[in-house]
């Protein structure tokens, strides 16, 4: 029984690992397609395929093993330089990658083994490996070939681990490869570790060898050869001071393990590093997100209960109790921060998935598109990552399909034939910003306007700014694609993207320049994330402003103009006129009344390029804030982005700076308009 459940768990781990390796394999293929001569990428691709084969073998998934073996053989041939892959070859490798994925999916569904592959694909792979003629020149660029500098002699000792053969490495293949790196002078096999038959495990590896190599590539070039098997061999490389005079390759009963000069030998770092990596693997465990959520909820409760305890301690006037409670509260806060951090993931993992999407879509459309990824290390909540994957996919496909032109059109327009699609992410004012930018043709505003008029979204005579026209494509059911293609334009429009983003309390904004491209910017709040907040107090109610948004704090200026609505106005800050919002009036805490003897402050905040002032009663300082989303009941409350629980157990509201800046600016615009028309208007609120 428990054996079964253990096995099921191991199987789950296998499947997750296989998926990870596949993703890596795919990435490496993409990179390899761009630069087929990059030995490092090739090695990484091989390793990924090899790992899949290895773990599949452990579970006895023969079909996967057999197929991956073929794939591996192709990569191996490429590595040996006997095979330079034609364009279609990569197609076949990508197809193979998909097939392995399909096999893994079968296994996930509970099949005892994957369906054996149709021999056709296997045959094509085998044909690829054998039929394609050897590349006339070394296909794989080695460090030696590049570093044509001065050659040096190196003495190298390699000892393979017992598992090397079982892991599919044959030490001989490394020796075969060496002449590609340099001049192989003497090779001697240390076979004293080979036991007698009785003591031998025939599948273990007992071999070690030493050789002298003259190479211009230096230590790195030699390490690169064994990089492949870095977990299966130990490498010692040292400069050979005394050039061994043509030591003939002989049967060396090596005089024991040459341990005497080990002290001088500079030990290779690689094996140790790989041990570290293995240790890291052990330190990583997979936990279901539900468990994490529950932990975070519990810790939230702990924070409140801890504050309660402190309150009781204060009421009891028991200093020892108070001290103990304070210590607990501090620890709980640390635990909370740690727990929240557990949920944060880097957005890069989502980004790289688009490489294959872009590649395939571009191929299907006959376009040449380069995907540029930046800011992949930006962290955001795991749940958020999953939710924005779909909208992102839509934007990417839109850019590939409609944005970036065919190469011929691009050249005609004086642009490079190769299109550029950029994915970028960064944190800004307590929000995460994700950008999808292309250098395509930009939006066709005339057509959008025509369509919008046709759909009755706007009046023909309505005057609209370019920017306003651009945002029209987010209107429900709006699609301007002249022809519906395979990729996008299947009825799911930008309106869905917008709805999805807004459901996450985010905003989406599009900027386009005809002929130059389109950039779509998604701004998302860091829900469930920790932010550095700035705590302020307005009439006894606590509010938090994301610290990134705070520009400066000033005393309430003596001179400021208050609008007729009594809750907004403008003031001058070093010659710049800025609008402000009086939070007391805005939230209706105590409209109009001036607190006696209290000095109000202005908190200057920024959102994008706009700065506004927020009038508050008291500044309380920085505060580490866990954002808790507001319930649905508050979905329509403006100016509030969320809430948080204070150390005291009280609640603080997190201000939605974006909304407040918008309100203040609109208020200012409305007032100017109102003054023109000679009547007073309320501020939009």
């Amino acid at each position: 029984m428990s054996d079964d459940s253990l096995l099921a768990e191991a199987r789950g781990t296998y499947i997750e690992e296989a998926r990870e390796m596949l993703a890596q394999f795919e990435q490496m293929l993409l990179a390899l397609e761009a630069d087929p001569h990059d030995a490092e990428t090739l090695n990484a691709a091989f390793r990924a395929a090899h790992t899949i084969k290895g773990s599949s073998g452990l579970f006895g998934f023969r079909a996967v093993v057999e197929f991956t073996h073929e794939v591996e053989a192709v990569l191996d041939a490429m590595r040996q330089g006997t095979l330079s892959l034609p364009g279609e070859g990569f197609g076949l490798l990508f197809e193979s990658c998909d097939r392995i994925e399909a096999m893994v999916a079968e296994l996930e569904a509970g099949a005892p083994d994957a369906t054996p592959l149709d021999p056709a694909l296997l045959g094509r792979l085998a044909a690829l490996r054998t039929a394609v003629p050897a590349a006339p020149s070394p296909a794989v660029r080695t460090a030696a070939a590049e570093g044509a500098g001065s050659s040096a002699d190196w003495r190298v000792r390699v000892r393979f681990t017992q598992d090397a053969l079982r892991n599919g490495f044959d030490p001989a293949s490394f020796i075969h490869y060496l002449p590609r790196v340099g001049e192989l002078h003497a090779i001697a096999t240390v076979d004293d570790a080979v036991p007698a038959l009785e003591a031998m495990d025939p599948e273990s590896c007992y071999l070690a060898f030493e050789f002298l190599l003259r190479t211009g590539g230096g230590r790195e070039a030699i390490e690169a050869v064994f990089e492949f098997a870095r977990e299966d061999c130990e490498l010692e490389i040292e400069p050979a001071s005394t050039p061994v005079a043509g030591a003939a390759p002989v049967d060396t009963r090596a005089p024991g393990e040459p341990a005497s000069d080990r002290g001088t030998a500079e030990r290779r770092v690689e094996p140790r590093r790989s041990e570290d990596r293995r240790a890291d693997d052990v330190r990583t465990i997979r936990v279901s997100a539900d468990k994490l959520d529950r932990l975070i909820d519990l810790i939230g409760e702990l924070v409140i209960a801890g504050s309660g305890a402190r309150l009781v301690a204060a009421q009891e006037s028991n200093p020892r109790f108070a001290e103990a409670a304070l210590r607990i509260a501090n620890l709980v806060e640390e635990a909370r921060d740690g727990a929240l951090q557990l949920r944060m993931v880097q957005i890069g993992e989502t980004f790289v998935r688009f490489q294959r999407v872009v590649r395939d879509a571009a191929k299907a459309l006959g376009k040449d598109i380069e995907l540029v990824i930046t800011g992949g290390d930006t962290e955001l909540d795991k749940s958020m990552v999953e939710l924005i994957a779909d909208p992102l996919m839509h934007l990417v496909r839109n850019s590939v399909d409609h944005g970036i032109e065919a190469p011929a059109d691009r050249v005609a327009a004086g642009k490079p034939a190769r299109g550029r699609l950029a994915l970028n992410a960064f944190h800004d004012s307590g929000a995460i910003v994700v950008e999808v930018a292309d250098d395509g043709r930009g939006l066709d505003r005339a057509r959008i306007l025509a369509k919008a008029v046709e759909r009755g979204l706007v009046h023909a005579e309505q005057s609209m700014s370019d920017e306003e026209i651009d945002q029209l494509i987010f209107a429900p059911g709006f699609s301007t694609a002249a022809q519906v293609t395979d990729i996008s334009g299947r009825g799911v429009g930008m309106d869905v993207v917008k709805r999805n983003i807004e459901a996450l309390r985010g905003t989406v904004h599009l900027a386009s320049e005809p002929g130059r491209g389109t950039t779509t910017q998604i701004r998302l709040p860091l829900t469930l994330a920790i932010i550095d907040g700035f705590l302020v107090n307005v009439r006894g109610v606590h509010y938090i402003v994301p610290l990134e948004a705070v520009v400066e704090c000033i005393e309430r200026p003596a001179e400021h103009a208050l609008a007729a609505d009594g809750r907004s106005g403008h003031f001058e800050l070093r010659g710049q006129v800025l609008p402000f919002v009086d939070l007391r009036a805005f939230f209706g805490v105590d409209a109009g009344a001036t607190p006696a003897g209290s000095r109000q402050s202005l908190l200057v905040v920024r959102y994008g390029p706009n700065k506004v002032g927020l009038l508050v009663d008291r500044l309380m300082g920085e505060y580490q804030t866990v954002i808790k989303p507001l319930g649905r009941l508050f979905a329509d409350v403006r100016g509030i982005a969320g809430s948080t629980i204070l150390g005291t157990g009280g609640v603080a509201l997190i201000l939605d700076v974006a909304a407040l800046v918008g309100i203040a600016n609109r208020g200012a615009t409305a007032r100017r308009g109102a003054q023109h028309r000679g009547r007073t208007t309320g501020v939009g609120g």
């Binding site: 096999t189 038959l197 025939p202 071999l207 049967d251």
Partner: protein
């Protein structure tokens, strides 16, 4: 050279690769325990490092029993691998097939 030295032709023939290492290991043990002093390698097809290790181990076992194991009839794959490892001397006593 005893009668034992001429084993059924195909028992040791075929590929000497990791996939057959366990099987060949058992066969070789039988031979060595049986006191052979010569192995005819001529039937070997593919030959990888696991095969080479088996030969080395077999020689060691024979040496432990006070015998020298001669390896004869090594075909090209076996010669090539031994040369790769700088162990061409292993096959010294062997005659070209």
């Amino acid at each position: 050279v005893t009668a034992d030295d001429t084993p059924p032709a195909d028992a040791l023939a075929g590929d000497w690769t990791i996939y057959r290492a366990a099987e060949l290991h058992a066969l070789l043990r039988e031979r060595i325990d049986g006191g052979v002093e010569q192995l005819d390698l001529s039937g070997i097809g593919d030959f990888d490092s696991s095969g080479l290790q088996l030969l080395l181990a077999a020689r060691r076992s024979a040496a432990a029993a006070g015998r020298e194991l001669r390896l004869t009839g090594a075909p090209q794959p076996v010669r090539a691998l031994c040369d790769t490892y700088g162990l061409g001397a292993l096959l010294e006593g062997s005659s070209t097939p």
